[in-house]
Symmetry: D2
Subunit: 382 residues, 4 copies
């Protein structure tokens, strides 16, 4: 697929994701981690305007200088920005105005991409695609939070998405000790945090081919594990008690029956679905309760072609740190990944919210250990 | 005007106030004191449904039981409610859905008001009118905050509203000491907090016929008074320093020129307009800097027929306390005023945001001393 | 008693209060409202050094310039100061060092007071005596908090102090409506907030000759009143729920029996003692639950010679506001009272912690409505 | 040295460290990370009472059951405890009482250690020695914080401790890529977090033989690096701005000259001393500013015998995670290390506050990335 065609396809998918929304759904920000959908559609547009059109398309007229302030995210290099907690306080620009901005930039991009473009720009374009795909995932994540925290529990979609874990081989996969290689080394795009490919020494280990299910997690809850400090990190134990956590996000005990908010609305808990929306603290405690542990990101990467993945982002025991030889790009693009490499845990895989083709076996996602609004799950190792 | 006609008129005014809004403007809650406009239009509808239709109109079918939870305000008697800080997190019900609810209730009310209604219900209706007028004022106050805190500073209206203080007699009005009567005693509606009418002993005092202007307040700023603890209460001095307050709300110093966000957008400061959007702490400090003081609510009430009032709510030195013989009504209606009678200061008058005919000389408004989002001003006494 | 003699007596009483303390008890600050005892004994010494010796005694050599920073309280005029929340973080100067400082200043004062002193200085001295007496009360209050919040519940004293309310006439005292005079007008010392003496108009009222007892308050608790919003101000209801308040400060339910920490240690609740250590919110709620109300400070003042008072500071319904004609003294002394006249409630009377002769019928104490560490009680009116 | 002798020696060292303190210095807790010295001397005593005397010495009589509550630290298994933030609020037990408790336990231990003891108990004793040595380090760290945050800046000691970095070879030490072994494998004591010894694959790297000095760090400050986001993690940049950090802890710019609080009091900055009391965020930013990086804990461990270490704990780039095969001991002892293995960074080395012989080349210390009260420094790698 050529660049212009791929641009169109990526941009359309963002719009398809938003299609079921009401205008009001675009506006709110119920917690700081969530961004209003209208901010996502403005910000992904601002990205192409700022990093492609303004520097490289001489005929381009900036749409509105104020939008730079409104739609910048964390790029300190590119100027001031609305602070993250304030995104949900902005009624203007309206959704219609942002869609006009989107159209204006898309038209300019179409013009721009008619011409020959340099390899450098091609690379930036591919980064822009991957950036927008990441925001597509966040859009779905944030939409679920917005609708799932509304007291009316509106459904996002009437299409049923089955996530059932097929009972494939339940035997753990065994892997011998030795030197392995990890990190990206194929053709095509990868993020800077997947480089350099390098050797690691792993001890012999075993890893489960299956994700932990709601049914299995329910046993953990029913055993009283949320009230037993022995399974938890000290920080996790504080988190559980301060926030009175008793179950995964979106779970509701109604008249003695567990329910779960899904994109189809509030439903009885599907016992065979993989458990989802749990923090690293809960993933760790579950593994500890089972007498097992979470895999490291390297263990995951060197066995991932032996099991199905892609139903939920999987917490690993690894901290998010630079690979040997990691260097950040100069300028604003260099702010992409490196500056988050402290205090976060690595997730591997992909989820129902991930855009098709976006993830890969070397892909490294990362979040703070207490976050649950992402589609996070558990795979066990020993 | 009969009750049915007045009902229609009051309800229409609410809709007129909202007419210039975009859908998105109805949704946001930039600070806890502000409620989203869609909440106001739902809540005022819920009031008539809850206190008139459900108890007194047997033919009435409740529109949606969930709305009781969404649109209840602080009435503990009437059940659970969305906590105030969460009002801006709700994208649903949508504005269109709330307008349908409004129409449904208005139709039912029209049917209900065709019949003969008892004096008791008439009284409740008049309370409902006054309640909705209060929310009309809050609507304008909240709309100003929402638009005035947007980085694009959109105008609410293109009609220019002049507030200029006419230089009437600048001599202070003198009043001798003695026993005066205060509190409501006419025909017609008043709130419970205006009763009982009672005697008070006042020392001789003088009160200004004019409100303090922006020009006069600018002198206070330019004298460095925001940085001089001597003019401030200890609590006010903490508030100024913690929040780095340097001027009234909505004032912006742009390239050395003071600007002011108004309903017409961001404008150069109108020097002859009364100063507005200041806290009690600032009103007190201004008076102290002048070597004067604020009037008590009684001093204000017994002289108010000798000066023009109605341009801004005026801070008084009085704490908001019950009058002798104050009693609260039974049930939810009794939660209206009494439970706020601690920690607040009394304001007297009315502002550009007050619905016509809503205020009167005995009317008592009240706010916490640090609040500025209301249309508050200063009148001096000695 | 002459000034020099009274100086010695006042200073000695402070030391007597501290006599039962261990060195460690002088140091800690378990909550921000409490000051460490060593701070009190340094601060009261600093007061005489700063306001008498340094300006008026030319032979005087300042003891240690750093102490001005350490022992200043809220006097903005006199320079920087250790912020209040940090007082409990200071291990130095030690108790012995502060006692040496105290001795040094007392010696200088003895020398100074040998001479003839002006009326102006005499007035300042009397203010200093009253200031130190206020700190004596705070010392006892803070010592009770420090020992009463220690898990070992050490006793302060083995002398039993009986506070029992004698069942005197239980009939309410009736007072006719009319113009009364309130405020100080005798000879001798009063604080600026007791002036000017002025006329007030009071409606007919009745006031109880007795304080509410622990037994009566227990009925309030047992009726479930801490869980019934109807008795509470909105702010009080928030306070109760946020802080999970279920009983007065220092009450402990141990194996189904109510106990109370007193200066004699943890004891079974004395049912006939006046209820103590309750917030204004609780005093108000109790009165509301009884179908009665708290008296205003004026009602209290004009009847106080008809009942016994002095067992606990009594919450009134009055907000702490300036009397007509109130003016503050110039300079640091002027910061004494006026700047606290917002957001606080007036208390009248005196408590077991008040220095003998310190209070009087026109004396106005004041606290924020949520505070309980003072010896506060309830008298009812209607 | 036999166990009984070593017991005596370890316990004496704790007392020697406290010898220069005033009673008041034992009591305060200026920030949550600091524990009052009297708590340390009680807690280390409680450790031997709880884990040795109570379970293994049948003749032993518990000193005071309340002390279990007061001196337990984070051992959830062993019962309730005073929450960490409240340690500085306790005036009782007094220092003398705690010393009596210490004596009582030491006497019992002396009796107990006369007998033959099992290997299991010997192991627990050695853990107790190491535990007390860790608290000796914390004692010095906390004492420095308490005295160094007092406005009088009292000295702890008059003995001058030189820390100067000798300009040894300034060439970086080069290490080839390959498989290395890390983790403890000698005789004698190690903590559970140093096990298992295991293989790691390291890329070729270089490491500095010297620590970064105050002089070098001053260049970083003077270049404006505290105000340039490019050198910082996003979390570090927030931390710098929220806390207005401009220099290491204990540095004071007085009349244009940098001073540093040391155990000898406030002194002019010693330029050749290693920089100390910096957070991981600062260590990382310094390395980034230099175009270098921090070593991983493995890089450090496999080269440490080629340079001098022991002047300050050195931040590494490694997150604190379990080694392959890590298992925690059963019961309370198992709470020692494992439950802190999230969100912390590893430090290697030892500092001027570390007890002699306590650290070793495989020793892993760990702290949150923002902490500075420890004696932390910087070594560079590439």
């Amino acid at each position: 697929m050529d660049i212009a065609e791929r641009y169109k396809k990526v941009r359309q998918r963002t719009e398809q994701i938003c299609a079921p929304l009401q205008t009001e759904d675009y506006v709110v920000q119920p917690v700081v981690d969530v961004s209003p959908p209208k901010w996502h559609i403005g910000h992904t547009t601002w990205f192409f305007e700022t990093f492609i059109l303004k520097p490289y398309f001489t005929a381009y007229q900036e749409y509105n200088p104020d939008y730079n302030y409104v739609f910048n995210s964390y790029y300190e290099t590119v100027g001031n920005r609305v602070i993250r907690t304030d995104r949900g306080n902005l009624s203007r620009p309206t959704v219609i105005e942002i869609k006009q901005y989107r159209k204006y930039v898309d038209d300019a991009m179409e013009n721009f991409l008619c011409r020959e473009i340099s390899d450098n720009i091609k690379e930036l374009m591919v980064l822009g695609f991957n950036h927008e795909e990441q925001h597509q995932e966040l859009l779905l994540t944030d939409i679920k939070y917005i609708l799932g925290h509304n007291p009316l529990f509106p459904a996002y979609s009437t299409d049923y998405i089955s996530l059932k874990v097929e009972s494939s081989a339940s035997e753990f996969i065994k892997q011998p000790e030795g030197v392995y290689e990890v990190g990206f080394n194929g053709e095509g795009f990868c993020f800077d945090n997947e480089l350099n490919r390098h050797k690691v020494y792993l001890n012999a280990f075993e890893i489960s081919p299956n994700l932990v299910t709601n049914q299995e997690y329910l046993e953990f809850i029913n055993s009283g594990a949320y009230h037993d400090f022995r399974h938890w990190h000290a920080a996790g134990w504080d988190w559980v008690n301060t926030n009175k956590i008793e179950s995964p996000l979106y779970w509701h005990l109604i008249d003695g029956e567990w329910h779960n908010y899904t994109f189809n609305g509030l439903q009885q808990l599907h016992l065979k679905d993989p458990v989802c929306h749990i923090s690293y603290y809960e993933a760790y405690a579950y593994a500890s309760w089972k007498g097992l542990r979470l895999p490291t990101e390297y263990e995951w990467e060197v066995t991932a072609n032996q099991f199905n993945w892609g139903k939920s982002w999987e917490w690993t025991e690894s901290a998010y740190l630079p690979y040997p030889g990691f260097t950040k790009a100069p300028g604003a693009i260099g702010e992409y990944n490196g500056k988050f490499m402290v205090g976060q845990k690595v997730l591997r895989g992909a989820s129902e919210a991930t855009s098709p083709g976006h993830s890969r076996i070397t892909y490294r996602n990362f979040f703070q250990p207490e976050l649950r609004w992402q589609f996070t799950g558990i795979r066990l190792a020993k």
